[in-house]
């Protein structure tokens, strides 16, 4: 049952090299600053930094602190700030420098931006009159390997910046990340993609490669697939039910590690645990549907007991060998096992408390387009009872996307009730969701207006009219129902789905839905392009592409393992459920997927990025 390594799985490239490169560059940058210094690190960078350079960094500075907007005590006259290029942070640093100037303190300041600097940030320094007092540098830390097959850019803001605000500042960053991968691990034979941003990232990557020198290296990836998050919003909005996804939904995995509270550890302490393939227990259950996990863990516990029991009846020599060879492994496994059992228990408790079954039932009905009225009533009650603000919003968005927008009457009434329950300032949140096309009101006689608006554009050529069109064109129709039919995303209801023996990727959502993003990837890889999928891409707003690699050696390499490695880049974040689905697909098709994502996301992170209810 557990996903164990299959026999002829292609080996994965060694991504720890990326960590080393990043670490070395950081050390180099810090070494350039002479003397002892106070180093301030953006709070968002703490965890990624921890993954690559925990101890080494501290050699260069006596005092490290996470950057918070509070009052500091400084020890040295050299201050170094390691930050994301954000205007707010730079403004704050400028204020600090100016305050020093007023007080007549003389210090040296250095800002290291990662992964790159932005002109807008430098302009702030200039405008605040501290340009020159503050010197800047870049630490090109593009990719953090989270696991053997997960690479993250650790840029959660990519999603809002790109899709909501329409700011393309991270396009080049994503292009640079791909360039880095290509120059370290070699070329590819084919690139596919879908989405506006995907296209831009590809172009940016291509430009960068043309500028740099070409390396002729044995390729380590066969294919690359780029996909925009807004191609598929349904998947990240669904409740996750595979183990890793569920852990993320409930405990929030941060940079590949999670903090289990006292309720899990059954002690009074919280424990931070790394969750990756190194954890033997976790790696066996991470991709499993939650309903299988308990059974697996109890079996595992029994095995462990048997292993411990071997001690009995051992003579002294055997005992010695046992202690030397096995005991440590067993103890380790014991510890992990009890942690995951604790986590499972705690998850069960949390989920039964909030009527998880009913919630899932509603989600599945929405995906299926079945008993929509009942779903609306459920959502309404959810809102009325002021249960989780994010969950209510999530259900509303799912309803809107699957139904191509809400009926005017429903939209108004649900919005009004939402504002009553969770605060009127969520008006702003609703405006955001509407702009993104996540939560919309159906326009009267919608089916007719598609043609009309096209004609209208030609007739009414006022700039203002054009402009509102341009803005609303970003909020596109989801066409989910039609897509789901065409790609067979929702298996026929009534059929038994054995979650122990998954037959397709739908198992990651209890057999109720195959993630659209993953289905697209499967189809394109199967067809080796988009041919035959015209209808689908039209419904996804076009923007698909497929290009064949130019390097001539494509035949020569067809025999190698690399041919079976596919790099999938999610622009705007990807969920653990999608990763599990791709792992499953890889196993079915005898290939391996490497996921590159701008950040790991889930429904809460996705929606929280769009909230506008606080200053």
């Amino acid at each position: 049952m557990a996903h164990t390594e299959w026999k002829d799985a292609p080996g994965l490239p060694d991504f720890s090299l990326l960590k080393r490169l990043a670490r070395d560059q950081l050390i180099f940058l810090l070494e350039q600053l002479p003397g002892k210094k106070d180093l301030f690190i953006d709070a968002d960078l703490m965890s990624p930094l921890d993954r690559i350079a925990n101890v080494t960094i501290l050699k260069f500075c006596l005092y490290t602190s996470s950057l918070k907007y509070t009052y500091f005590l400084f020890f040295f006259c050299r201050l170094c700030f390691l930050i994301r290029p954000r205007i707010q942070t730079v403004k704050w640093i400028s204020d600090l420098v100016n305050a020093d100037k007023v007080a007549g303190r003389f210090r040296r300041y250095k800002i290291i931006f990662t992964p790159q600097k932005f002109y807008a940030c430098e302009t702030v320094l200039e405008e605040q009159g501290v340009y020159g007092d503050v010197t800047t540098d870049e630490w090109n830390f593009y990719i953090l390997p989270l696991d053997d097959d997960i690479l993250s850019l650790e840029l959660p803001e990519f999603f809002r910046d790109n899709f909501l605000e329409g700011d393309q500042r991270w396009v080049t960053t994503a292009g640079s990340a791909l360039r880095l991968l290509q120059s370290v691990y070699g070329s590819f034979s084919k690139v596919y993609g879908i989405g506006r941003c995907a296209k831009m990232v590809y172009e940016s990557w291509r430009e960068l490669m043309e500028d740099g020198e070409q390396r002729t290296r044995q390729p380590e990836f066969a294919k690359v697939f780029l996909v925009d998050r807004d191609v598929d919003f349904v998947t990240p909005l669904c409740s996750q039910v595979v183990y890793e996804g569920l852990v993320d939904d409930l405990f929030r995995i941060k940079c590949g590690s999670v903090e289990f509270g006292p309720d899990v550890t059954s002690s009074d302490k919280s424990i931070k645990v790394m969750l990756n393939s190194q954890d033997k227990v976790f790696s066996e259950i991470r991709n499993e549907h939650f309903s299988n996990v308990f059974g697996f863990l109890s079996q595992k516990a029994k095995n462990l007991q048997t292993a411990y029991d071997k001690r009995r009846g051992m003579d002294i020599q055997q005992m010695k060998a046992f202690v030397a060879d096995e005991l440590k492994g067993l103890k380790q496994e014991h510890r992990l096992l009890s942690l995951h059992i604790g986590a499972s228990e705690s998850m069960m408790k949390k989920k039964t408390k909030q009527d998880f079954q009913e919630l899932l039932k509603t989600e599945h009905s929405l995906l299926e387009g079945f008993e929509i009225r009942e779903c609306i009533t459920y959502i309404e009650e959810h809102i009325n009872r002021q249960v989780s603000m994010i969950d209510s919003l999530r259900l509303l968005c799912l309803l809107s996307i699957t139904e191509n927008g809400l009926l005017s009457k429903d939209y108004r009434s649900l919005k009004a009730q939402y504002l009553q329950s969770y605060g009127i300032e969520h008006l702003l949140t609703f405006a955001n969701l509407r702009q993104l096309g996540l939560l919309e009101e159906q326009q009267a006689g919608e089916t007719l207006t598609v043609m009309e608006s096209k004609v209208g554009k030609l007739v009414n050529d006022k700039t203002v009219g054009k402009l509102t069109d341009a803005f609303s064109s970003l909020a596109k129709k989801s066409n989910f129902r039609a897509l789901s039919k065409r790609l067979a995303l929702v298996p026929k209801s009534g059929e038994e789905y054995d979650l122990r023996v998954p037959r397709d990727m739908a198992y990651v959502f209890s057999g109720a839905y195959i993630p659209l993003s993953c289905k697209l990837i499967e189809q394109v890889l199967e067809r080796d392009g988009w041919t035959g999928m015209e209808e689908v891409t039209r419904m996804l707003n076009g923007q698909e592409f497929a290009v064949t690699g130019g390097s001539s050696s494509s035949e020569a390499r067809s025999k190698t393992d690399a041919q079976r490695i596919v790099l999938v880049m999610f622009l705007g974040g990807c969920t653990f459920s999608e990763i599990s689905a791709l792992r499953f697909l890889g196993k079915e098709r005898g290939c391996r997927f490497i996921v590159v994502t701008t950040a790991i996301t889930n429904s809460s992170r996705l929606l929280e990025a769009l909230l506008d209810n606080s200053a």
């Binding site: 002109y119 008006l427 554009k457 054009k466 402009l467």
Partner: protein, 481 residues
Amino acid sequence: MTRAKPEDDEYWNSSKFKAFTFDDEDDEFSQLKESKRAVNSILVDEDEDDVERVSWSGEPVGSISWSVKETASSIRSGSEQSFPKIDTTPSLSKQGSGYSLSSLFKAKSKPGAFQSFSESFSDTSFRTYAPELRKPKSDGKDFVSDLSPEETVRRMQKGRPFSLEKFRSLQDKLLLLDEAVAVYDGNVITAVLIFLKKSLSKEILFRELMARDVALRHYVHYLKEMGEQKLLVELLKALGRTEDMALMHYKEHLNIKDEGRRRDFLKSCLSLPFSQDDATHVQDHYTLLERQIIIEASDKKADAEIFKKFPRKASILNMPIITTLYYSCFYHYGESEGTFSSPSNIRKTFRISEKQYILTALGARAKLKSWFDVDSLFNTKNWLGYTKKKSPIGFHRVVDILHKNSAPVQVLQEYVNLIDDPDLKLSGALKYKCHDVVINTYRDLKDRQQLIVYREKLERDSPEYRKIQELLNNVQIRWKN
């Protein structure tokens, strides 16, 4: 830099003196040349600095695998073949406004158009208006201010020195902007916009941005991040996006901490051009905060029994409407509709549905364990004067809420009995251990087996146990099993 005198202007501009430029000994000229060289050398130095910085591996930093390799554009053409382009196929539909994506993709493939324009430009206007920037032809190509929009944008992308000073005509500025948009680099787009913001009047800039959607969105985002609220509101107004403008303005209230000032600000928002729906919501927001301030002021010093028994945990200010209603059902239940703090007043003012009201009041009264109030929430009298219990929400929900507020079995039992759906009723009864309901249901179903099973779960000789015993001994019942 030395200032050129009028006669120098003439000198530079007339072709008559051309023959002498090369070896001219003129003081001012050599001075100019000197300073020119100085300027150049600064730039060049920086450049070389970049290249010479050596990384840990001994390679120049500029060439380590991930940082942008600084190479001449000549290499580009050579390797063009090796990295394939996306086919710009007609699958991309051209959109209404200025730059659709497809045209962006096309623009890239034929840079010639930009090039030729800028060249013709630098031959004429540039030299006439900025003579002091001219320098000996030999190193002219290197000087950053001599670059075409395309080259300038490339330099900006790579973080190399550049100068935007020479982009002075509106046309040049816009070419620069369009070029930045064409390479999809948001960082550069914003940089150019900052330059335009400083060098164009806002009316002109707004006008030009109207037809440039991508640039406009960058500009809006930049202003948001810089907190330039005022300019942003002006921009949105100029674009005719009045609703967005209203929302943007409304958002400001989040930054106001003092509740009195916040209330006044919300009042000032009432006249903004919101959509019809949103206008109602904003009106509600104002009314709500106004009420909350009044309630908070009087409750802070209230000494009624209820406040002593259940001290308030937090202030009611800025809470959602439903929370306010709950609060009012908790502390001000039964007040007459005339008072602001009464549940009925709040219910009426904010047009709260019956369902929502019942849910909230139920929660509050159950929390206080006033079962009498709970009862009266559902009591309705029919025309004969009989009281009957009715509820806009399913009674299984009611039971659920009562249970969560640890209602005693007697209360639960009454409501479990009211559940219409027999299955829900039975499962509810089992879940909340309402023995009587369970036993009666099984009796009605004539399910002897289930009764026997259930008996085993009960304590021997408890009243329920005996009741089952009696039933099982009753020979009049025709059991189905």
